[in-house]
Symmetry: C2
Subunit: 380 residues, 2 copies
């Protein structure tokens, strides 16, 4: 998070302030602010394919499926738990792999074994991410199957894809045009205390649907009554990736739009919000790029302004790049199984042609029927 | 185009028809149809990074900027024109490069020299794409600077990014809910004759703005009067990539939404449309996946249905993947200059450390002040 924030700040120091080359119509859309956003996104984009480009990031594999990304500083610690993790080089995909012991029988055993390690790591105090321990679980899935649940604070260490919901609460004001409700986060929140944020937002937790989460958060954070929340419109999602001292953040936010009556004023019910403010769209773009705004919520606002015609391709020449950067193909970071299968297929074809068997590879993590032959100690 | 079409057809043969694993709520959103779409997109996605992954596709460089992608079958023909193209291997980026002679002085000279080659290639009849010659120009730009213009039919041979506009004309019907106007293309059109398509669409041509093009096309194709077209809302863009016998298609469509009165009926003014039909959203999803629909217009309809809450994350489990696939990061295919600069920077740093100069590379296409030293014959 810090890196994105620093980039946003540095671009605001005048180095990359756009100008007529980039903006045809700066006044109408907060052009230079949008350009700063492109620069910020570009910098995060540079590390968009860590699993493929950086040798110090390894796929995290559970039940033969890649569900995460593990940096070297984390896998060095995981080496201490050979009964839980198998860390090795796969000669087929030419890549190091961190695999959860496939001898674990089910969801519960995987969850418990992983949690034991996480609690140890927390006690050792090596990872700042684990100091934010919440006793709140995040479900780790692959191909729509739940594999285990993981303490939410640990997800950045394992580079697990995280999902959240956001509601753009807006008003068609008779004199000010399109206006957007923003919340100011409580000073006591664990993350981004005191920062400005979307009207309503929250992470997806175990057992809750997507729209269900949005409705729940709308009631808790902004006291939106049921007769208004029924107008909630699902409007897509934004995906982005960044790294920080806390770990890796491959995030997707499901976005909802909610048109509100001019006279409705949200008020908080759960103590997580200290203020709400209604801002005209133009001022909203400005606010999003102050250091007072939660960086990771900016893509949701930019996406809203694009979908509602307040940032247009005629106004901002980097428009297509902005739209592409709001939808980083995170799925491309989790392709270990596909690549392994491809290599295996190629080898089989080669074998057919030459009649020889290639015995160079010690990687058989897809053959999880033989876990004890795979360098693991026996499961617990 | 054929490949996407074939994939769409093959997925419709029942092989990949979804089912309860993938769809929570198939009836409400045309689930299996959407799944077919994911499969079709996935197949195009496989060749999403041709410039980086496939050795037979080379960057096309003009004035030091990558503006296109050239397949081996094309660059073999371009070798016959050494006064116009420099085709060589860049040892720095480990990649073959096709460069337009940097000795050409300006926009007009570049345009004329390229066109001479294209007219020759057309006469030779080697490329089906050139049989659709239209005498209509497409402007080739880089970093917002126009470099040359190219016959529209030739753009797939050079893998130039193409841009178009599309208008989703829709009605909030009192009994049928959200309905969408579709057009049936004239049987005499050069491309996709007789197919169903978005209400209004067209390519961006030299000298026209994006919204300007949308308004022009709205009048020509559907006779939308000015008092209605003033409600046009810019709503983002979709980007996709595919290959066919015609060449490479890295396409971006700028999308506009236009709400129309229930009693308005579009009618064609330029002979390019043979019929219009108003379809409820649900039927629209079905129509999009029949062979009667123009494949490359499907992403625009899917994007519209997502933004308006008719395809939601709770209904379709592949939702995030669909959204990511509607916004393929085409910019990542045009990074030759960035990569070259990166390698050069690394070499400079290495030189500082070792005191030695690396003389292995013959690639100096960024030093366009010395074109005659670069293996080119003299400019015309």
């Amino acid at each position: 998070m810090r890196r994105v924030m620093e980039t946003l700040r540095s671009t605001k120091n005048g180095k990359n302030c756009g100008g007529p080359k980039v903006y045809q119509n700066e006044k109408s859309c907060g052009g230079s602010k949008v350009y700063q956003f492109v620069e910020a996104l570009r910098s995060t984009k540079l590390c968009c394919n860590p699993g493929l480009q950086k040798s110090d990031i390894r796929p995290f594999v559970v039940e033969g499926q890649q569900v995460g990304l593990v940096k070297s500083e984390v896998f060095k610690q995981l080496l201490k738990y050979p009964e839980v993790f198998c860390i090795r080089d796969c000669e087929q995909t030419k890549q190091g792999v961190v695999e959860l012991n496939p001898a674990f029988r089910d969801y519960n055993e995987r969850t418990e074994q992983l949690e034991k390690v996480l609690r140890n790591l927390r006690l050792e105090g090596l990872f700042p991410a684990l100091q934010g321990w919440r006793d709140e679980y995040f479900e780790v899935k692959s191909e729509h199957r739940a594999l285990l649940k993981m303490e939410r604070a640990a997800t950045p260490l394992f580079g697990v894809r995280k999902y959240g919901v956001d509601i753009n609460g807006y008003v068609r004001h008779p004199t000010q045009g399109l206006c957007i409700w923003l919340q100011q986060r409580s000073n006591t929140k664990e993350t981004w205390p005191g920062k400005w944020d979307n009207m309503v937002g929250g992470g997806l937790s175990v057992g809750f649907g997507i729209k269900e989460t949005a409705i729940k958060e709308a009631a808790e954070e902004a006291s939106i009554p049921s007769d208004l929340v029924k107008n909630l419109v699902s409007a897509g999602c934004v995906s982005f990736y960044f790294e920080s001292r806390q770990g890796l953040f491959p995030n997707t936010e499901y976005v909802f739009d909610l048109e509100l009556p001019v006279d409705f004023v949200p008020h908080n019910a759960d103590g997580e919000v200290q203020a709400f403010e209604l801002l005209p769209a133009k001022e909203c773009v400005e606010r999003v790029f102050t250091p007072d705004f939660k960086t990771t919520s900016a893509p949701v606002v930019i996406d809203f302004l694009i979908r509602h015609g307040h940032i247009t391709a005629d106004d901002v020449l980097d428009f297509t790049q902005i739209v592409e950067l709001l939808h980083v193909p995170l799925q491309s970071l989790y392709t270990y199984k596909t690549r392994l299968e491809l290599v295996q297929k190629q080898k089989q074809q080669q074998k057919k042609l030459t009649g020889n068997e290639d015995t160079n590879c010690n990687c058989d993590c897809l053959q999880s029927t033989k876990p004890t032959e795979n360098g693991y100690k026996n499961g617990p």
